[in-house]
C-alpha cells in the first residue's frame, strides 16, 4: 500500500509476512560439528558442473581442490575437511534427482589446510586477477541463488557500474545468517568491498539493510574504514526486497528493464555474506569450505546460526540440533522461496542459507481451493505489478504463450507473494513456475528446429 510509504524509498506493492527472526537473530554464529561423511555434489551452483580431479581412495587435505571449474560459468570445489575420497558416484540432491558427486570420509582430527593459490593483494591485483581469484575460491551467491559470483561481477563492454550494491536485506522470514554476518564479520565485508569495487570499477558502494536489522546497520556504519566510499542505507521492511530488482528500486530508485540485468541501470548487486567470504578468502588464496546457515523453525530444538562445512548431510545436521518427534516438513532456504525436501540424505551446499523444520502442528495441509473471487490481493502484492489473477486463469487454460507474450510471465521471479495472499488458496506461483518451464522448453525446441 503506497499510502503509508511516502517519504520512504521502497518498491511498489510487496507483502509483510511474520518475520520470526527474533528466535535466532541474537545468537552468535557457532562452529558446527564435522560429519563423519560428507556428500559433495559437483553441481552446487548454476552453470556447468565442476570437473572432478581426485580419484576414489585418494587422501585429501582440507582446502585441497576436489574438482575444478567446468567452464566459465562454473566454479571449483574444495575439500571442506581432510579425509579420504570414499566414492565418486551419483549423490542425492535437493531437487530430488541424483547427480554426480563425491563422498568424502573425514579424518577424525583434521589436518593442515592446503592453500590452492597465492593470496591476492587488493591494492596490486588487477580487476581480471580479482575475478579469477573469486572463481578460484569457488565463490557463488550465498544468498541462495548460487550463481557464480565472478560472472555476475564482469561488467560487459560498453556498460558502467555506477554503484556496487551490497545486499543485506535478508527479507525471507526466519533467516538471520546475513544479519549475523553483518554483526560479526564487518571487517571481512569491508575487505570484500575493496576487491569488489576494484573488480567492477564502481566508484562507490551502498549496503542495503532492512529496518529490522538496525543494529547491523549501525555497526557497519560505525566501522566503515577511512576512505572507503561506502554508505549504509536502511529501507522499510517488506518482502521481497531482497530480490536484486527490488533492492535496486528501493535504494537507487531505478527499475531494471524487463529481461535485463542490474548492470543495465548501472548496478552490480552482491550479497553481504558472499562479500564477507571474498574478503576472507582472497587475501589468503583459500577456497570456500563452509558457510553460515540459520537452523530454525518450530520443529528445531537447538536453533541457531551455525558455520557448517559444505557437504554436511541434512540428517546429521538435524540429529545434532535435535528435532521434534512430529516433524512434518523440512525446507532448505526461507519459507517463501525455499524448497521442501523429502530426503534427508542430501547435504548442505554453497547455496543453503537456512534449514527450517516444521511439525504437524504448524503445517496446514489440503487447504480448500476456491474459485478466484477477483479480490485483487495478488495484484496489490506482486512486486513487479503483474496480474497474477488473470495469469492464473490463463494458466488453467494452458495459454502459456499468451501469458509470456501479453502478461510478462517471464519477468515473474517466483517470490510467492501472490500465493501467500490468495484467499482462494490458488497455487498461483506454482502455476507460473510450471508455465515458465513450458515456455522455456518450447523456445528451446523452436531454436533447435530452426538450427536443424
Amino acid at each position: 500500500m503506497g499510502l503509508f510509504n511516502f517519504g520512504h524509498k521502497t518498491f511498489r506493492h510487496g507483502i509483510h509476512p511474520p518475520e520470526h527472526k527474533s528466535e535466532t537473530n541474537g545468537l552468535p554464529i557457532r562452529q558446527f560439528a564435522f560429519a563423519p561423511l560428507l556428500v559433495l555434489p559437483v553441481s552446487q551452483h548454476i552453470g556447468a558442473p565442476s570437473k572432478i580431479i581426485v580419484r576414489e581412495g585418494q587422501e585429501v587435505m582440507r582446502g585441497q581442490l576436489l574438482a575444478e571449474a567446468g567452464g566459465y560459468v562454473s566454479v571449483p570445489l574444495h575439500a571442506p575437511v581432510s579425509g579420504r575420497v570414499r566414492k565418486i558416484a551419483n549423490v542425492p540432491t535437493a531437487k530430488g534427482e541424483m547427480s554426480l558427486g563425491i563422498y568424502l570420509e573425514a579424518f577424525p582430527a583434521s589436518g593442515q589446510e592446503v592453500l590452492e593459490s597465492d593470496g591476492l593483494d587488493w591494492e596490486t591485483a588487477t580487476p581480471e586477477d580479482i575475478l579469477q581469484g573469486i572463481q578460484n575460491a569457488g565463490i557463488v551467491g550465498l544468498g541462495g541463488a548460487a550463481f557464480p559470483t565472478h560472472v555476475k561481477l564482469k561488467v560487459p563492454e560498453g556498460k558502467q557500474c555506477e554503484v556496487l550494491l551490497l545486499n543485506g536485506i535478508e527479507c525471507e522470514p526466519y533467516l538471520t545468517t546475513d544479519h549475523r554476518v553483518m554483526l560479526e564479520q564487518a571487517e571481512d565485508i569491508f575487505m570484500g568491498i575493496r576487491y569488489l569495487l576494484k573488480a567492477t570499477g564502481a566508484p562507490r558502494a551502498i549496503i542495503g539493510i532492512e529496518a529490522n536489522k538496525k543494529d547491523a546497520a549501525e555497526h557497519l556504519s560505525r566501522n566503515i574504514p577511512e576512505g572507503l566510499p561506502v554508505t549504509v542505507e536502511v529501507v522499510p521492511v517488506k518482502y521481497p526486497q531482497g530480490s536484486e530488482k527490488m533492492l535496486i528500486t528501493s535504494v537507487m530508485g531505478r527499475e531494471v528493464p524487463s529481461g535485463g540485468l542490474p548492470i543495465d541501470v548501472g548496478a552490480v548487486v552482491v550479497n553481504v555474506a558472499t562479500t564477507a567470504e571474498i574478503g576472507r578468502l582472497l587475501p589468503h588464496g583459500r577456497g570456500i569450505q563452509e558457510r553460515v546457515v540459520t537452523i530454525t523453525g518450530p520443529g528445531v530444538k537447538k536453533k541457531g546460526n551455525y558455520l557448517i562445512p559444505v557437504g554436511t548431510p541434512l540428517r546429521f545436521v538435524l540429529e545434532e540440533v535435535g528435532v521434534a518427534d512430529n516433524l512434518s516438513e523440512v525446507y532448505l532456504g526461507g519459507p517463501m522461496m525455499g524448497m521442501a525436501v523429502s530426503n534427508l540424505d542430501i547435504s548442505i551446499t554453497k547455496g543453503t542459507s537456512g534449514i527450517l523444520a516444521f511439525t504437524d502442528n504448524e503445517v496446514r495441509r489440503a487447504d480448500k481451493v476456491y474459485p478466484c473471487i477477483k479480490c485483487g490481493a495478488c495484484v496489490d502484492a506482486c512486486p513487479i505489478s503483474l496480474n497474477p489473477s488473470q495469469m492464473g486463469i490463463l494458466a488453467k487454460f494452458e495459454a502459456y504463450d499468451e501469458m509470456a507474450a501479453d502478461h510478462n510471465l517471464m519477468d515473474c521471479f517466483e517470490c510467492g507473494s501472490c500465493s501467500y495472499v490468495c484467499p482462494s488458496n490458488i497455487p498461483l506461483v506454482q502455476y507460473f513456475r510450471m508455465s515458465k518451464g513450458v515456455v522455456r522448453k518450447r523456445a528451446a525446441a523452436k531454436k533447435e528446429a530452426a538450427n536443424v
Binding site: 512434518s328 525446507y331 519459507p335 477477483k374 512486486p383
Partner: protein
C-alpha cells in the same frame, strides 16, 4: 529418530491464512448490526423477510449445485450474503413470496448462470432486485412506517400475501426521504437519516450501523476501502456543488449521503469483489462512476433512487475499466493486457 515420512509441498510455505470463506463469513457478520436494526425498526415482518431471502438463496444454490452434479458450495457463505443483501434492499412489508422469487433469481440468474462464485458479472443480489423491480413495481415502492406499535407481534398483511395475488397494505406510510424530497420537496432531518429513524428499505435506513460494518471489514482487510470512499466522496462533492448552485432545487450533500440505499450500496454492494475491478486505480474509477450515476439518476432522473442501477452499470463496465487501467509492469512501459 526420523521414522516419520517428510511431506513435500511447493513454496511459499507460509500463507496469510485468510480464506475466501473467512471473508464471506465476515461480510455476513458485518451486515448483522444493520440487519438487527432493521428487525428492531420494522419488527417481525422484516425478520421473516430476511429469513426468507437468506433461506431461499442458500436453498437455490444448494439445489442448483446438486442438479448440475457439482459439490454444494453453500459452505463458502457467498449465497448467504446474496440472500441477506437482497432482503435488506426490499421494503419492510414486501410480500415474502416475492422475496423468495427474488432470491431464487439472484442466485440462479445472477450467479449460477455465469458460472457460480467468482464468475458473476453483476452483484447477484442486485440482479434479483432489478428483476423484482421490473416484475412488482408497486410492491417494491410501497413503504412501511418504522417503529410502529405492535411491530414485534403483528405481521404486516402484505408480508403474508399469497403468491400471484395482489397484496393488501394495511399502513401505507407514504414516502421515503428520497421520494418525499423528489416529489414533495421535503428534506428529512440529517440526524434522523444517520440514525435510521426514517422509512425506507429494510436495511438501508441506519447509515451509522452500515458504516460500522464497513469499517470492521476494512480493518480486517476484507474490503477494498477505495470503493466506498470514492463513491461517497463523489456523491458528496457533486451534490455539494449542485446544492451550492441552487439550494432550493437540490438537496444538501449530507442528505444525499445518508438517504436511500447509498450507504448500503457503497459499503456492501459495490464492494462485491468479483464484480468490481482488480487494480487500485480501477476501483477508484469504478467508485467515481457509481457516485456520478447515483447523483445523475437522483437529481435528474425519473426515479427517486439510483443506487441499484448505478452499481449494475458500473459492474457491467468493470472489465473494461480493468483492461484500461492495468498496472504498469515493472521494468517496462507497457501494461499487461487484460483478458
Amino acid at each position: 529418530m526420523f521414522k516419520q515420512t517428510l511431506h513435500i509441498s511447493t513454496s511459499p510455505h507460509l500463507k496469510l491464512g485468510v480464506s475466501t470463506d473467512d471473508i464471506m463469513r465476515n461480510v455476513v457478520w458485518a451486515m448483522l448490526p444493520a440487519s438487527a436494526f432493521a428487525v428492531y425498526a420494522f419488527g417481525l415482518s422484516v425478520f421473516l423477510l430476511l429469513v426468507t431471502s437468506v433461506v431461499a438463496a442458500i436453498l437455490t444454490e444448494h439445489l442448483l449445485c446438486r442438479w448440475s452434479g457439482k459439490e454444494s458450495t453453500v459452505n463458502d457463505w457467498s449465497a448467504a450474503i446474496t440472500g441477506l443483501l437482497l432482503g435488506l434492499t426490499l421494503p419492510p412489508a414486501f410480500p415474502l413470496w416475492m422475496a423468495f422469487v427474488g432470491s431464487v433469481i439472484a442466485i440462479a440468474l445472477g450467479k449460477f448462470a455465469f458460472g457460480g462464485l467468482g464468475y458473476n458479472t453483476f452483484n447477484p443480489a442486485l440482479v434479483g432486485r432489478a428483476v423484482l423491480q421490473a416484475a412488482f413495481p408497486a410492491a417494491i415502492t410501497t413503504w412501511h412506517p418504522a417503529f410502529l406499535e405492535g411491530r414485534f407481534t403483528d405481521i404486516a398483511s402484505s408480508t403474508l400475501a399469497l403468491p400471484f395475488m395482489e397484496p393488501t397494505y394495511d399502513a401505507v406510510s407514504g414516502a421515503t426521504p428520497l421520494s418525499a424530497f423528489k416529489f414533495d420537496g421535503v428534506a428529512a432531518d440529517s440526524a434522523d437519516l444517520a440514525l435510521g429513524l426514517v422509512s425506507g428499505s429494510a436495511g438501508e435506513t441506519c447509515a451509522l450501523l452500515i458504516v460500522l460494518g464497513g469499517i470492521y471489514l476494512i480493518a480486517r482487510n476484507m474490503m477494498n476501502w477505495r470503493i466506498p470512499v470514492s463513491i461517497l466522496l463523489t456523491v458528496y462533492v457533486l451534490s455539494g456543488i449542485m446544492h451550492w448552485v441552487d439550494a432550493e432545487a437540490y438537496p444538501s450533500p449530507v442528505f444525499m449521503l445518508f438517504s436511500g440505499g447509498l450507504m448500503l450500496g457503497a459499503v456492501f454492494m459495490a464492494t462485491d469483489m468479483v464484480a468490481s475491478p482488480l487494480t487500485a486505480k480501477g476501483v477508484v474509477v469504478y467508485g467515481v462512476l457509481i457516485g456520478l450515476l447515483v447523483v445523475v439518476i437522483r437529481l435528474w432522473g425519473g426515479l427517486p433512487e439510483g443506487v441499484m442501477y448505478a452499481i449494475l452499470l458500473a459492474n457491467a463496465v468493470s472489465p473494461h475499466i480493468d483492461s484500461a487501467l492495468q498496472n504498469r509492469v515493472y521494468g517496462t512501459n507497457k501494461k499487461a493486457k487484460a483478458v
